[in-house]
């Protein structure tokens, strides 16, 4: 049972989800009695009544259908039948399966209190199966059974497309289109506005000061790996910073935490120096691997700060607990500090201890702002479109939901599951 279903269940709107037998132990009923569905209660009562014998004999389950389970990998068949009346006396349903009516054998059972749905997940793809659902009424003394009619032969097949995921697929296409479309818009030479980002205007100031004082610049990329979006954004900013340090001949030190990042960064900075016509100023040793251990890394960078007293410290990328050590030490040596991270739990320390901080998504915006590249500018605008869509959904939901029209939440619920 899913989290979200459980939530719905509490509201008494959705029946419990079919579930495979013998799997995923459930919470006992009493643990959240408020969420017991009326249907379940009824069935429970009828289960209790089962002890009372019924003279007219047991009615067989009706309308038994066996269908290939939709949207699966072709390894299961779903059986459904009509729920028995309250006073039917049925205690349990046995499920019989065979490749022909002659080979029927029991494959499982379902408590009569549960929803009359059984998922047979032990079938092979592409083989015909027939099923019988047997109603059983059992007391201490007697056992009575009644079989349903044999179902039509059915095969399990796998689906190539999960129809339940169409909304998700569409949403993905819409977001992709918004982003790609805007990138092309930017590439066609159209102007795209980016609002002022205060932290970035300080970059020139920081570099200038370092050059004047004849001190180095320390660029910390954080702990993220190379596929981490924040690290990639940080590397782009580093590329821009490197172009300027190449011109000013200010030493740029980059201690790395991730070996792959190290290699990428070396390439990037080298290219930046080459593009500025200063390949001679590039020193590979200035971009080095420290350690991949978080605190050893923090201690190492701290050591560098205290020993070398850089004039400017950039803390851009993904940060964890080491952020405060870095920011506080940088603060204590009097460096201009420009921080930026999408790790929101580290933002308070950067805000408290650094001169400028790029908050969350501003880090990505910074990449666009600095490079003025159509790719970044366009995708930034695409993201803004995404926000507009979110606003639209929120507003629509706010209007409809209180009126009792639950389209929006139901739709989102479908996408989530």
């Amino acid at each position: 049972m899913t989290v979200n279903n459980r939530f719905q269940l509490r509201l008494g709107r959705m029946p419990p989800e079919p579930r495979r037998r013998g799997l995923k132990p459930r919470l006992p009923m009493g643990s959240y009695s408020i969420c017991v569905h009326p249907m379940l209660l009824i069935c429970l009562v009828c289960g209790l009544c089962a002890g009372v014998a019924f003279a007219q004999g047991l009615a067989p389950p009706t309308n038994v259908t066996a269908k290939d389970t939709p949207n699966d990998d072709g390894k299961s068949i779903t059986l459904t039948w009509d729920a028995a009346a309250e006073d039917s006396g049925i205690t349990v349903y046995q499920i019989l399966r065979g490749t022909t009516p002659e080979t029927l054998a029991e494959i499982g059972a379902l408590d009569s209190a549960e929803k009359p749905t059984y998922v047979d997940a032990s079938v092979e793809t592409g083989i015909d199966y027939v099923y019988v659902v047997r109603a059983v009424s059992k007391t201490e003394a007697t056992e009575e059974t009644a079989d349903s009619e044999i179902t039509e032969p059915v095969q399990a097949t796998g689906q190539w497309f999960h129809t339940g995921k169409i909304p998700l697929f569409c949403a993905m296409l819409i977001f992709s289109a918004a982003i790609v479309g805007n990138i092309y818009y930017a590439r066609s030479g159209k102007e795209i506005f980016v609002r002022r980002i205060p932290g970035l205007e300080a970059v020139d100031e920081a570099l200038g000061r370092a050059t004047e004082m004849g001190r180095s610049i320390l660029y910390v990329l954080g702990l993220g790996g190379v596929s981490d979006p924040a690290t990639i954004a940080s590397m782009t900013i580093l590329g821009q910073v490197a172009r300027q340090t190449a011109d000013y001949e200010t030493p740029l030190r980059v201690p790395c935490n991730d070996p792959i990042v190290l290699n990428v960064v070396r390439e990037m900075v080298k290219t930046a120096y080459l593009n500025e016509g200063r390949p001679d100023a590039y020193t590979e040793e200035n971009i080095f691997f420290l350690t991949d251990s978080q605190f050893a890394y923090a201690a190492g960078v701290d050591g560098i700060m205290i020993r070398e007293k850089p004039a400017a410290v950039f803390l851009q990328g993904t940060f964890y607990a080491e952020s405060l050590i870095l920011a506080e030490t940088g603060n204590s040596i009097g460096a201009i500090q420009i921080a930026g991270t999408t790790s929101e739990h580290q933002l308070p320390f950067f805000i408290a201890a650094c001169d400028y901080t790029l908050i969350g998504e501003e880090l990505y915006a910074a990449t666009a702002y600095l490079s003025k590249e159509p790719m970044f500018l366009g995708s930034l605008r695409g993201q803004d479109w995404g926000k507009v869509i979110i606003f639209g959904v929120l507003v629509l939901g706010l209007v409809l939901e209180p009126l009792g029209i639950n389209w929006v939440t139901t739709f989102l619920q479908k996408v989530v599951n």
């Binding site: 939530f7 995923k24 132990p25 919470l27 009493g30 607990a321 739990h345």
Partner: protein, 272 residues
């Protein structure tokens, strides 16, 4: 004078903070603890699990941050072993695996739990989100053997556990961003029920997931450990710690207030 207070050497603050920890450690006090709702929810969820169901515990904290998640792990493990809930341990962090091993052994010994029947430690595999996704289709495709090198097929407890379908709850004890990974890849894709016990640093950012039900419970840092210890009636490091913690928080609050008073006084003087 005010200038002096404003620019007090940070080493004085260090000494004050040190004393605020040392003194209450030497002279312990005990204050009543209020249990918050997210902790209560996690407790209720685990308490309602049937004996024999399985909880997966992800030890996603390293030696650097064990102070908070370890008492939580200990309290929850105790609760599970008492309730006869089986525990499967895993970790996504390279330096967590020895810690998990030592802790599980310690609690199991105390509670008489048997390795391979009541609990298992699968260990560590590199790959982050791919480890989470891989276990969703088949645990054995990621962990063909446990931490000690024993094939999973030879462990009785793992006989009926093939993927997340048989896991009633995943509890991620985290000091980093692993909770989001579990939510994004195990909850969204495989519908795995998830709860978290996290260090103070990331408590705040868990609340959106708690409200949506993507997390069914949350232990907020040291406080969470102390609250859980209160719920299972077994006070330990969390309870002792949160009491000591009180005095440091008082000190910091006091310092911030003094700092601000000094700041306003100098500013007023500057204006006049």
């Amino acid at each position: 004078m005010l200038e002096k207070i404003m620019n007090m050497d940070r080493r004085i603050v260090f000494i004050l903070a040190g004393l605020a920890v040392v003194i209450p450690t030497l002279l312990p006090v005990s204050l009543p603890i209020t249990v918050s709702e997210p902790t209560q929810k996690l407790y209720d969820y685990i308490d309602a699990l049937e004996p024999g169901s399985t909880l997966m515990m992800a030890f996603d904290y390293g030696p650097s941050s064990l102070a908070e998640p370890e008492p939580m792990a200990e309290a929850v493990l105790k609760h599970c072993f008492d309730k006869k809930v089986k525990v499967v341990g895993v970790t996504l962090l390279i330096d967590a695996v020895t810690l998990a091993d030592q802790l599980m052994q310690k609690v199991a010994e105390e509670k008489g739990a048997v390795y391979g029947e009541d609990y298992v430690l699968l260990g560590y595999r590199p790959g982050g989100f791919q480890v989470i996704l891989g276990m969703g289709s088949e645990i054995a495709s990621i962990f063909d053997n446990d931490y000690a090198g024993k094939p999973l097929s030879e462990i009785p407890m793992m006989e009926n556990i093939t993927n997340y379908e048989q896991i009633s709850l995943l509890l991620d004890l985290a000091s980093g961003s692993t909770v989001e990974l579990w939510i994004t890849y195990a909850n969204a894709k495989y519908d795995l029920t998830i709860a978290a016990g996290v260090t103070g640093v990331i408590v705040s950012q868990m609340y959106p997931y708690l409200q949506t039900g993507q997390l069914v419970g949350l232990l907020p840092g040291f406080l969470g450990a102390a609250q859980y210890e209160k719920l299972i009636n077994s006070s330990g490091k969390g309870t002792a710690g949160i009491n000591t913690e009180s005095f440091v928080h008082l000190l910091i609050v006091g310092l911030v207030i003094i700092g601000n008073i000094a700041y306003f006084m100098t500013r007023q003087r500057g204006e006049s």
